[in-house]
């Protein structure tokens, strides 16, 4: 396979189709003609750009009755390619049984092979979605030397973007050297560079297509990417953060309703929890009416999402749970999997109904309006630097005091409360992250995260055991649980209890580390007032 040596963008008059430029170098000639072929292109990535961030590009190329999925590195180096059959449906809805991938598509739905092997660890639980589509008219020409021997192929690409917005993209010219002719082809590219209207391509075709459609790769992140300064009025800072959090809620809305992958709901829930945390800890910084009006609304929204998320967690961990069965078999557990699937469908339907409800629509419009009103005339004091330092210090003190009060005989509820305090501290660290030194911030969050993981494991296994009992009761009631399945579920309950006990025994060490002088110093560094 020829590797692209150089790519150019052709800058020409908008009303004439771009063509291969004439070059003045007598050592080379470019053949005329060249049959045009049409290629339909769909670039795919996860909603949070995992492939792009990993330096990868995945493209479905459809033309002449064939379709091929091609994974390349950013520099165009081929990593894996796979034919997917027929010429239709690049971007059609999922659900057909024709063996071709349909979008959205999870890693597990791709056919087995090198492509899936490369993609699975990168995309994880996220689905692949079309991020841009284009139609390319490709015309191939040959560059020849004085012996009339081909030294390179020149591919002219007249591309029209069709999704997410329609529009022409700048024509591109790719020079690919034939094996053994790299030196001559390099001289040819030098000659092309000197031709009028030829500019070295600064970005690959994928990014060019996205730019033509008004998008930028990496334009979604669930992180709170707002830039605060310590002297900014606290009310304005909080309103900015709340607005950004609601951007995240809205960005994930469609994917959550369509159940594209579990991360849409996860990101939406985290944004809601962060919002609730800001409203709870804002105190007098924001008008009292805002908290009293919206705290119940965001609680409602959070509660609406809980059943589906709990079932997501069960289903995501199902294979691992089934794989660890010792006495029972995976087949015996299957009715439980079926039950989870049915429950998930019901919960998902309820969730979608809630997110399409008038209550949610009201929340969306009024929340934005109220935030805009505060942002228009925010109280000038206090500055956010002081607020951040005070709130982080207070939240940290509460974690330390609640943690110290936990003994070997403390009930599970006290660990759950501590987990909530830890979450509040974590959200504050994340909300005010832009005020802090990134290295200090990273260390503090990492330490807190280790403690949260332990508390999360304890609480999640607690909840899952209780849910498992409920599931068993439901399955008994609707007679969908054979005895072997209940026994298998019992084994899972035992495994959860062991995990919970392990997490409980690890808690002391984790907390001691967090509350150590070094740990305290790390958080202390973030409680300095930033100007």
């Amino acid at each position: 396979m020829q590797k692209a040596l150089r790519e150019f963008v052709l800058v020409g008059a908008a009303d004439t189709p771009a063509d291969v430029p004439q070059i003045a170098d007598p050592r080379f000639g470019i053949t005329d003609g060249g049959k045009a072929r049409t290629l339909r292109r769909t670039w795919l990535d996860t909603f949070d750009w995992r492939l792009y961030l990993a330096g990868l590009t995945l493209e479905l190329r459809t033309g002449r009755g064939t379709a091929e999925l091609v994974l390349t590195a950013r520099d165009g180096e081929l990593i894996a390619a796979e034919r997917t059959g027929g010429s239709t449906s690049a971007g059609s809805a999922s659900g057909s049984a024709d063996g071709r991938p349909h979008w959205p598509c999870l890693a597990g739905e791709l056919s087995l092979g090198p492509l899936r092997e490369h993609l699975t660890p990168v995309i994880g639980v996220r689905a692949l979605l079309p991020v841009a589509r284009a139609t390319s008219v490709l015309i191939e020409r040959r560059a020849v030397n004085a012996d009339d021997k081909t030294i390179a192929t020149l591919t002219l690409d007249r591309m029209t973007v069709t999704y997410p917005k329609s529009g022409p993209a700048p024509a591109r010219l790719t020079v690919s050297a034939l094996r053994g002719y790299q030196a001559q082809a390099s001289r040819l590219t030098d000659a092309l560079t000197a031709a009028p209207g030829v500019v070295a391509a600064a970005a690959p075709a994928f990014e060019s297509a996205l730019a033509a459609a008004g998008r930028k790769p990496g334009d979604y992140t669930s992180k709170i990417d707002v830039q605060l300064t310590g002297s900014m009025p606290a009310a304005l800072a909080l309103v900015t953060v709340l607005g950004r959090l609601f951007d995240t809620v809205e960005a994930n809305l469609s994917g959550t309703i369509r159940d594209v992958d579990t991360e849409f709901l996860h990101d939406l829930r985290v944004a809601v929890r962060r919002t609730r945390s800001v409203l709870k800890t804002a105190g007098s910084i924001l008008p009292a009416s805002l908290a009293s009006r919206y705290r119940p609304e965001f609680k409602w929204l959070g509660d609406l999402t809980t059943p589906t998320r709990d079932l997501d967690v069960y289903l995501l961990g199902y294979s691992s749970m089934a794989g660890k069965l010792v006495a029972a078999t995976a087949e015996e557990l299957q009715p439980f999997r079926d039950h989870l699937g049915r429950q998930h469908s019901l919960a998902q339907r309820e969730l979608a109904r809630g997110l399409r409800s008038a209550r949610f629509a009201r929340l969306t419009s009024q929340w934005r309006e109220d935030l805009a009103q505060i942002a228009a005339a925010p109280p000038r004091r206090p500055p956010v630097g002081r607020l951040a330092a005070r709130q982080i210090a207070r939240a940290h003190r509460r974690v330390i005091s609640d943690g110290k009060a936990i003994t070997a005989t403390s009930p599970p509820g006290s660990l759950h409360e501590l987990r909530k305090r830890c979450k509040e501290l974590r959200y504050l660290l994340e909300i005010f992250a832009s005020l802090h030194d990134p290295a200090e911030q990273w260390q503090a969050v990492n330490e807190l995260k280790a403690l949260q993981d332990c508390l999360g494991e304890f609480q999640d296994t607690e909840v899952q055991q209780a849910e498992l009992r409920d599931f068993a009761a439901q399955m008994m009631a609707d007679r969908s649980a054979p005895a072997a399945t209940l026994l298998a579920m019992g084994e899972i309950a035992a495994a959860l209890a062991i995990r919970q006990r392990r997490a409980r025994s690890e808690f002391g060490g984790r907390f001691a580390e967090f509350a150590s002088p070094q740990g305290l110093a790390r958080i202390g560094a973030l409680t300095r007032v930033v100007a």
């Binding site: 034919r83 012996d147 053994g180 002719y181």
Partner: protein, 255 residues
């Protein structure tokens, strides 16, 4: 990877025309093909418009100081690469002689290419030499063009006997009649009788045709420039016969 070689002690019998067309047809069938022009006259290189020059010459190549891989050039045809000739190849015998296992050197030079190519075609100079002995040891199949004369048949017998004395690997021989002059009764008689009498003579024969001679003017295989011509048809049949007798597996799927 299968190695085919066009070989005959005599010159001007159609070795290069056969090597070039067989290599082209194999590539067209989807095999990844390398044609090595071992003849310092560089006719195959000329036909593919590749300059007959190898950096470091034949000496560096045979001594392994320059990887074979570095000298390979793409032709203008998909799947078909060429290792060009170099005028220093006239001294290949000397360079081979200074190597250990001097009769197996060519085979060992080709070994690293087995993942990259499905078929290698060796276009040999007319001679009986250390180089030709290397070719006989490297090849899985010898394509031997014969002018239909009694002396040519005798030469084939000598070659067969020589190979029969090899220890271990012996190439399969597929002789075929080349440059048949339809106006000559002897040509027609021998070309008709011998394939029926001997297993190592192909049923396909290549007539003397002006289209084949014109290859040097057009500088392209006749199977590419005139695919419907009689010459192209004959080479296609010969390729099919060689492919079947060499038991070549199906080509890999196209990328």
């Amino acid at each position: 990877m299968k190695i085919l070689a066009t070989y005959n002690i005599k010159g001007g019998v159609g070795k290069t025309a056969t090597a070039v067309n067989i290599a082209y047809l194999a590539a067209k069938d989807g095999y990844r093909v390398l044609l090595w022009d071992l003849d310092p006259q560089a006719a195959a290189s000329f036909l593919f418009r590749v300059r007959p020059r190898v950096k470091g010459g034949g000496k560096a190549l045979i001594a392994g100081k320059r990887p074979v891989d570095d000298a390979i050039k793409a032709t203008d045809f998909d799947n078909l690469d060429l290792l060009p000739a170099d005028f220093t190849y006239r001294n290949l015998d000397l360079h081979l002689d200074s190597e250990r296992k001097s009769t197996r050197r060519l085979r060992s030079l080709l070994t690293p290419l087995r993942r990259e190519y499905d078929v290698v075609v060796l276009d040999c100079p007319p001679s009986i030499s250390l180089l030709s002995e290397n070719v006989l040891h490297a090849a899985d199949m010898l394509l031997v063009p014969l002018i239909p004369t009694t002396l040519s048949v005798r030469t084939l017998d000598q070659l067969t006997e020589f190979i029969a004395d090899f220890d271990g690997h012996r190439p399969q021989i597929l002789a075929f009649f080349s440059m048949i002059d339809r106006r000559k009764r002897l040509h027609l008689e021998i070309a008709a009788q011998l394939p029926a009498q001997r297993d190592d003579v192909a049923a396909t024969a290549i007539p003397a045709l002006s289209a084949i001679e014109q290859m040097s003017v057009r500088r392209t295989p006749v199977a590419a420039s005139a695919p419907r011509s009689q010459a192209a048809r004959c080479y296609r049949e010969l390729w099919q016969e060689a492919r079947e007798r060499a038991k070549l597996p199906d080509p890999p799927p196209q990328p």
